[in-house]
Assembly symmetry: C2
Homo-oligomer: 181 residues x 2
C-alpha cells in the first residue's frame, strides 16, 4: 500500500491505536484513545490527459522521482476543490505548459496495490508550442510508431496509450474501466 501508518491523532496529537471501531465497521482504523477520533485512509486519484495533435500525442520526460528520465503522460494527484477533468487539465498545464481543449474520459484504472485510481481524458492540443514546468525535462510530440514503449514511466500510461491508439483506429472513442493487479 506504500502508506506509513498514522502515529498521532490529527485532532489532539495523542498516539493512536489501530483497532476496530465501535460502530460495526469491519476494518482496523487508527483511533485516538483520548478524543476518540477515527482516522480513515482512502485511495488517491491520479488524473491526467492524452494530449494529441493530428496523429501525434504529447509525452513528457520526467524530471522528478519516481522514474526520472522516463516518458509519461501529464498527470498528478487530484486536489480538493476540483473535478477529475479540472485536475487533469491543471496537471497538463503545469507539466507540459500545453494549450488544449479537454475531451472525454478515456481510461479509469484501479491500482489497488498502491491504493490509487488513475483517470485519463483525451485533450486536443491547439498549439505545438509547449512550456513545461520543473517536473518535466522535455515535452514533445510522438507518432504512434515513435512511442518509446520500453521507456514509459508507468503501466497506466502504457495501457492508456494502447487504448487511445486502438480506439483511434476504430474511429470511435469509449471509456475503458479496468483493474491493474
Amino acid at each position: 500500500m506504500q502508506r506509513s501508518p498514522i502515529k498521532h491523532c490529527r485532532e489532539c496529537g495523542t498516539t493512536v491505536h489501530y483497532r476496530l471501531p465501535d460502530d460495526g465497521d469491519t476494518k482496523l482504523r487508527a483511533i485516538c484513545p483520548a478524543c476518540h477520533t477515527v482516522h480513515y485512509e482512502n485511495p488517491l486519484n491520479v488524473v491526467g490527459t492524452v494530449p494529441y495533435l493530428g496523429n501525434q500525442v504529447l509525452l513528457c520526460k520526467r524530471n522528478i522521482e519516481p522514474r526520472r528520465g522516463k516518458w509519461t503522460l501529464p498527470a498528478g494527484f487530484m486536489e480538493l476543490g476540483e473535478s477529475t477533468s479540472e485536475g487533469a487539465a491543471r496537471e497538463t498545464a503545469e507539466e507540459a505548459g500545453a494549450q488544449f481543449i479537454m475531451e472525454d474520459l478515456l481510461t479509469v484504472m484501479s491500482v489497488p496495490r498502491v491504493g490509487q485510481v488513475h483517470l485519463y481524458y483525451r485533450a486536443r492540443l491547439t498549439s505545438d508550442v509547449f512550456d513545461p514546468g520543473h517536473e518535466t525535462m522535455e515535452a514533445r510530440l510522438f507518432y504512434e510508431d515513435e512511442i518509446p514503449w520500453d521507456e514509459l514511466a508507468f503501466r497506466t500510461v502504457k495501457e492508456t496509450l494502447e487504448h487511445y491508439f486502438a480506439d483511434r483506429r476504430l474511429g470511435r472513442f469509449a471509456t475503458h474501466a479496468f483493474d491493474i493487479a
Copy 2:
C-alpha cells in the same frame, strides 16, 4: 469541502501550520514545524452499483444519517486495497445483502463541493431475495415508473438512475463522466 483542518502531525503529534511547501507546490498544506512532514488531503471516492433484475432496479432505504429514510443505490467510500469495482461490489453486499454479477462502469461524477468522486457500476441481480445490513431499513425492487424520484437521498443517485434508464431505452450502455456543481 466539509473537512476539518488538520491540527496535529500524524508522525510526531506536533501542532501543524498551514503554509506553502518549499518544493514549488502552489497550495497551502498542513506542515509539521518539528519533523517537516507535509500532510496532503485529497478527494474521496464513493463507489456503488445499480443492481437490476429484468426491468426493475434495487433501491435501499437509508437507516443512517445523512438522509435517513431516503432511498439510495448501494454505495460507500472506497477502501485501500480494493479496486473501484471491488468496492462497489462490497458495498452492494453489505448494504443490500444482494447476490449479483458486476457489469460495466455507468457513471463517473465529480462533486468538487464536497471533495468526492462517485463511480457507479451496473450489477445484474441473480436473486430477488435481499438481506440488508444495519445501514439499510429496507431493500426492494422498483420499476422505472415506481422510482421515488422526490425521495432519493443524493443527486448522484438521481443522475445515475436517469442515465441507467436512458441507456436501457437506447439498448446500449456507455460510461457517463460529468461534474456536479
